[in-house]
């Protein structure tokens, strides 16, 4: 606790110095006592997903850091696990109930909700703030948060996907992971490394559009498949898509861990840390976690490679957690102040100081992080792969053949949450052997067709 209090002091100074600069740009950072901003006042309710980065943010806010900068803004934070918070936010926003002023959402929702008029444009205010440095935020991230030229959310942290593997197991087996593996190679490695004690490869098997749906969607993209053709006819049973789905399920059945159908990000992360998985393909944000000595005592045994390729070099996975503002918020200035504070470069410095490390710092959203010497040292093994993966991903043209939708690991239509949940539940049945894979693919395809017809996309 003492450590935390000391750090709080250091961090507070950093935040105050860096964010609160209404007066003199020159005296920034050197002056220890910058005037807090007392002009903006109000109470804002913020809903956040319970990922480590947000939990760190909450601790920082509760330590008083935000109120040092904005003494007249009261922030109430609601933090819940991803599934729960997503439902809560969606229901609140779509019924216009106004429980929350600010919330964390992904690029899936932002353009759809902006179109419905549920979100406030926040790009202009960020642009106008010289300290915020909006240009530092990755273009690819901003592209997913834009609707009709306006920016409707500010990225907190972002991710693409990559391959993690156990170098000790690879060495033992005399194998070498290429920097840019193909899915065929992954399958070969998995076969070679799979044993009673170790699973060859871990992938998400947990049903849900944001769980199994995410990596599976990118495998479909990489294999040259797609969810729909230009006329919104479902293509899951098309040759490439079906090949991808069968590959994914069989890979897990043959070389995956016990109970893969219950495994999401965390479970697979744990398996890799415990040395029970030889390889894992998932979000790049795992890299910081599994190289943190406090989380992973075997952190030196983790290797990194790009996301596997097939027909396409990448599956076009791109995700970010972003702060967005409800259009019906009654404290817009306070909301803007909070969002900009939380997504600023100064916040990154503050949380690194607070934690004494990069473990829970938001990355993958701002280029400046990757130019920071301390981060370069901390993330030497994977920073370049992460940076390139984010820059290479193109969710606006995610597939080999043209599609009528955007999105890498999702299809950006309002109906996709239900469709993705239902389809992955069907594939989960196939994964545990309750159903033939081909039958599952046909059922999923019929469902996708029906959704497109019901929604009025398909003529």
């Amino acid at each position: 606790m003492l450590r935390r209090r000391l750090l709080t002091g250091v961090m507070t100074a950093a935040v105050v110095a860096a964010t609160m600069v209404p007066f003199s740009l020159t005296s920034r950072a050197q002056t220890p006592a910058v005037e807090p901003n007392t002009e903006i006042s109000g109470t804002i309710d913020v809903a956040m997903v319970a990922n480590p980065q947000m939990v760190a943010l909450q601790e920082l806010v509760e330590s008083g850091a935000f109120n040092e900068a904005y003494p007249n803004i009261t922030v109430n934070l609601t933090v819940l696990p991803e599934n729960e918070i997503r439902q809560t936010i969606t229901q609140d926003v779509t019924t216009q109930s106004g429980q929350f002023d600010v919330f964390t959402i992904g690029p899936f929702e932002v353009p759809l909700w902006a179109e419905q008029g549920w979100l406030e444009e926040v790009g202009a205010a960020a642009e106008a703030n010289p300290d915020y440095d909006l240009a530092d935020v990755f273009e690819s991230m901003k592209a997913g948060l834009t609707y009709e030229g306006g920016l409707y959310a500010l990225p907190f942290y972002g991710e693409s996907a990559m391959t993690f593997y156990r170098t000790d197991l690879f060495e033992e087996a005399g194998l070498e992971m290429p920097e840019r593996p193909t899915w065929t190679q992954i399958a070969e490695f998995a076969a070679a490394l799979d044993s009673d004690a170790v699973s060859g490869v871990c992938l998400r098997g947990l049903p849900g559009w944001g769980e199994m749906g995410a990596p599976l969607g990118t495998v479909i993209n990489a294999f040259g498949g797609r969810w729909y053709d230009e006329n919104w006819v479902a293509q899951l049973n098309d040759e490439d898509s079906a090949r991808a789905i069968r590959f994914y399920i069989e890979l897990l059945q043959n070389y995956g861990p016990e109970g893969a159908v219950g495994n999401g990000f965390t479970e697979n992360e744990t398996l890799l840390i415990q040395g029970q998985c030889a390889m894992w393909y998932d979000a790049t944000s795992a890299a910081e976690l599994i190289t943190d000595p406090a989380i992973n005592p075997d952190y030196e045994q983790v290797g990194f490679a790009y996301g596997p390729s097939d027909k396409l070099p990448t599956g076009n996975w791109l995700w970010s957690w972003n702060f967005a503002m409800a259009a019906n918020s009654d404290a817009k200035d306070a909301a803007n102040a909070f969002m900009q504070w939380a997504t600023s470069t100064a916040y990154v410095d503050a949380i690194v100081a607070f934690d004494g490390g990069w473990g829970r710092a938001p990355t993958g959203a701002r280029a400046s992080v990757y130019e920071n010497p301390s981060y370069q040292e901390r993330a030497a093994d994977f920073a370049e792969i992460v940076l390139n993966s984010i820059n290479e991903a193109n969710p606006n043209e995610p597939t080999e053949e043209p599609v009528p939708y955007t999105g890498g690991q999702f299809v950006r239509i309002p109906e996709f949450q239900q469709l993705g949940n239902d389809v992955t539940q069907i594939f989960a049945s196939a994964l545990v052997g309750d159903m033939e894979i081909d039958a599952a693919i046909e059922e999923a395809n019929a469902l996708a067709d029906q959704v497109a017809i019901d929604a009025g996309y398909q003529e």
């Binding site: 861990p257 109970g259 159908v261 219950g262 029970q276 109906e415 539940q425 545990v432 159903m435």
Partner: protein, 314 residues
């Protein structure tokens, strides 16, 4: 409530004959005392249900407000004819409720019998057996899902591996069994409390007499305890059914209704439609169907209840 109106006759009107006026006004007093609770229950439970009925005739996905409108019986027709999961879910619900209630009763009976005898530390054992009923359902579900049943780091499979066997992947190989197990773990103690109450109402004289006649412990249990407990078991079954059918937390937290629809019960199905798919129209239609089906089951339960009440009056 169609209570026959007797001519207004306040209880204070005839002080000379207090008993008589009391009797006359008794129905009114009774009604007056019942009304606040009744009105409250009707308001809170029936008002939202009216809205549910209205929504069930609407096409309304929260994400597509532009498409909202009345569609007649479309939602009902879809659920009854085109939703592939619907009938499987009904079957799941029956298995879930019947399985959990019966297993809870059986285990509850065992627990109750165990602690209904004197032995050193009986109070401690009873305390340990009651504890699961006190545990927050959400905490119980998460503890079981992660620390008990996890395929890789769970204690149950590890224990099985100690005897040289390979434990199953509980949540994917036996999802329904796993969910029921957690329910039973929490509800068997409740049954134990009720059955223990029943056992302790058996007069010691009857037991003593049986023992004097040379009855073994087994005979005593089957010939005296069990018949006496029948009413208590009916009560446990009834209350258990009412509570267990509503249990959503363990399904929500352990399996999400899956794999596939393997652990989706009707209440969870309604929840999934409304909260995960944001399909208010179909969710509402399903809610109405479930309520209609519940009324059928309630009617059956009520007959049982009626018999219990009758016996009591006799």
């Amino acid at each position: 409530m169609a209570v026959a109106q007797s001519p207004a006759q306040p209880a204070v009107a005839a002080p000379a004959a207090p008993t008589g006026s009391r009797r006359l006004a008794e129905h009114q007093i009774g009604r007056l005392l019942v009304l606040p609770a009744l009105i409250f229950a009707i308001l809170v439970t029936q008002a939202p249900f009216l809205l549910t009925i209205l929504y069930s005739f609407q096409r309304w996905n929260l994400n597509r407000p532009d498409q909202r409108g009345f569609v007649g019986f479309d939602n009902y027709i879809f659920l009854l004819t085109r939703d592939p999961a619907f009938y499987e879910v009904i079957l799941n619900t029956v298995i879930f409720v019947v399985g959990a209630v019966l297993a809870s009763l059986a285990l509850g009976l065992l627990f109750a019998e165990l602690v209904n005898h004197r032995f050193p530390g009986r109070g401690i054992v009873r305390t340990m057996l009651i504890t699961p009923f006190l545990i927050m359902p959400a905490a119980a579900a998460l503890t079981w899902k992660n620390q008990m049943l996890d395929a890789n780091f769970g204690i149950v499979d590890w224990l099985i591996s100690l005897v040289g066997l390979r434990g199953p992947v509980w949540l994917s190989d036996y999802p329904m069994l796993s969910v029921i197990a957690v329910i039973v773990w929490r509800w068997a103690p409740f049954m134990m409390l009720i059955l223990l109450a029943g056992m302790q109402s058996i007069s010691e004289e009857v037991r003593e007499a049986a023992r004097v006649d040379g009855a073994t412990a087994r005979q005593e249990f089957f010939d005296i305890t069990l018949p006496h407990l029948w009413r208590f078991m009916q009560l446990g079954g009834l209350l258990g059914t009412v509570f267990i059918v509503q249990e959503i937390d363990p399904i929500f937290m352990m399996t999400g209704g899956g794999p596939g629809d393997a652990t989706t019960t009707l209440p969870y199905f309604v929840y999934e439609k409304a909260r995960e798919s944001f399909d208010i129209g179909r969710g509402a239609a399903l809610g109405v169907i479930v309520v209609l089906m519940s009324i059928v089951v309630i009617t059956l339960l009520v007959r049982l209840l009626d018999r219990m009440l009758e016996r009591q009056e006799a």
